[in-house]
Subunit: 305 residues, 2 copies
DNA sequence: CCTTTCACG
DNA sequence: CGTGCAAGG
């Protein structure tokens, strides 16, 4: 991710050469994203029956204090996937444990590293089964993946490792990508998969504000982008981009540094990825850009399953 | 210092056996201290000419945000002694560097330990000389003592090392006490001394709320109290106790834990100590108990020098 | 309880 | 910039 030490040089002679609008005193470098009206049904007219929300909360306890759970209650998803909880299961506040509508809760957190990584999966109905991790000890110690099996599909909640400043952790990240793809393929062989989470990659230039400046930044290296491409080549679909192939400025993450969010200097790092055979069930994928509480915003997938 | 893990068991069957008042729903375990009217002159009628304020700020930058400097400006001392600045000289905010009335500023902070210890001495008039430390490398690395020489006296700003939880650092503390006393005696041989600061000891039972419970607590061990007694036996006077030998509940520190300050469960750890021959010049020693901004309150000494 | 630094993002 | 942590008090 970009450091962006400079204060507000977002429109300078930087990487985006397009002409600045003449009027605005502080032109936005990327247009603000307008979430279109919700598509309540599939193209063939079946209304959605499954609502899954995913949110990188950047610290569950701080997010709770900022009212994150209140928004979730209004959104009322059937499944909620949380990433970067930074919170052991035993430390999840009662306010969340008692959240109406999501009584079945599963938590995974980093072993021996309190306050690092961690994911949660909360469900309205009890899953048939829940598994922790991807079956690879190198990555499973971090608490990054939860998988809930439901009658018609798997819901996978994932927090993909960041490659780090200066790409110091790019190698382990790429090992994760490979192992995770194999994990998803094994699932997909059994039942369709809905993968939700912070995949820590902006796939294409359209998926971040400053693609050229970030060619060597964690989350936009060729290797990480290629990892995502391989996922798509393996029978999975990026639901948002499938529905909105041209949508620009549709980001889910903005660094806290430099007031990036107000300028929509962001990245699309959070995805709802579906098995290709689930596409007929896909109604919509919403990006809740205006929702505060973290440096990521939530996304919500709607399926008729 | 006491841990006080329990919530509000301040009146239980603890160390203070006196009968609890029957009426108050939550009786204060120690009477609140009422600072008496200021004695503006010496007993023989000379008005004060030197005002010295001392304050353990528990983090200079947080203290500034809480308005500490505004209160200092109203108090308008000639010399300001600050302890636990937790701030390198280069990191002192401009707000303080430009504080009207105290243009001559001297800072000392811990070597190789950013955010630990540190003292500051600020003066209205330029000192003849300023020295750093007490001439003992073991202690001088911590940034605990600043000495400013003025025409008629030395002003010493000191932050005496805490003996630590479980008294794990009692031995170095006692070495400091011994070395510091020798340092003060050398000064006193040249000019009278006004020593201000957090001496990290409550001298007598009257100087803390729960003396019996704290016989083995840092700041009230027999060895630390004896160190202070030795100071008094060496020609120095605790100005506050000299003026107010019977004053109870006169504390300058309250742990943040358990709401101790509202209950006046405190300690007198901050002192203005004077060379005995300065007693004739002593007008008053004020304890500004109501002033917020730190877990210590400021004290102010008034002298006619 | 509260401040500082730190690692991480 | 902001989280959760550790050390210190």
């Amino acid at each position: 991710m970009p450091k962006r030490g400079k204060k507000k040089e977002e429109n300078g002679s930087g990487d985006e050469a397009g002409p600045a609008p003449a009027k605005a005193p502080k032109a936005s470098p990327a247009p603000l994203y307008e979430d279109p009206p919700t598509r309540e049904a599939t193209p063939d007219g079946r209304r959605w029956t499954l609502k899954v929300t995913s949110w990188n909360v950047d610290g569950l306890r701080a997010w709770l204090k900022k009212g994150g759970a209140k928004w979730v209650q209004e959104e009322a998803p059937d499944v909620l996937c949380l990433q970067e909880t930074k919170c052991a299961a035993s430390a999840v506040p009662a306010e969340l444990r008692e959240l109406p509508g999501l009584p079945h809760q599963f938590w995974s957190s980093a072993k021996d590293r309190p306050g690092y990584s961690g994911v949660g999966l909360l469900a309205k109905t009890e899953p048939l089964d829940v598994t922790y991790g991807i079956g690879d000890p190198e990555h499973d110690v971090d608490g990054r993946v939860l998988t809930a099996e439901f009658p018609s599909l798997f819901v996978v909640c994932a927090y993909v490792p960041n490659a780090g400043r200066g790409l110091v952790r790019l190698e382990p990240r790429l090992r994760f990508d490979a192992a995770f793809l194999r994990f998803l393929q094994r699932l997909d062989a059994r039942k369709p998969v809905l993968l939700c989470g912070d995949l820590n990659v902006a796939h294409a230039e359209i998926d971040l504000c400053h693609p050229r400046a970030n060619r060597a930044s964690a989350g936009f290296t060729p290797q990480e982008r290629e990892g995502f491409s391989k996922l798509l080549d393996s029978g999975f679909v990026d639901s948002f981009r499938h529905l909105y192939p041209e949508a620009r400025g549709a980001f889910t993450f903005w660094t806290y540094l430099g007031g990036a969010r107000a300028l929509n200097v962001g990245w699309r790092l959070d995805y709802a990825v579906v098995s290709r055979r689930l596409l007929g069930a896909l109604c919509d994928c919403k990006i809740r850009s205006a929702v505060q509480g973290s440096d990521h915003c939530p996304i919500t997938a709607l399926l008729a399953v």
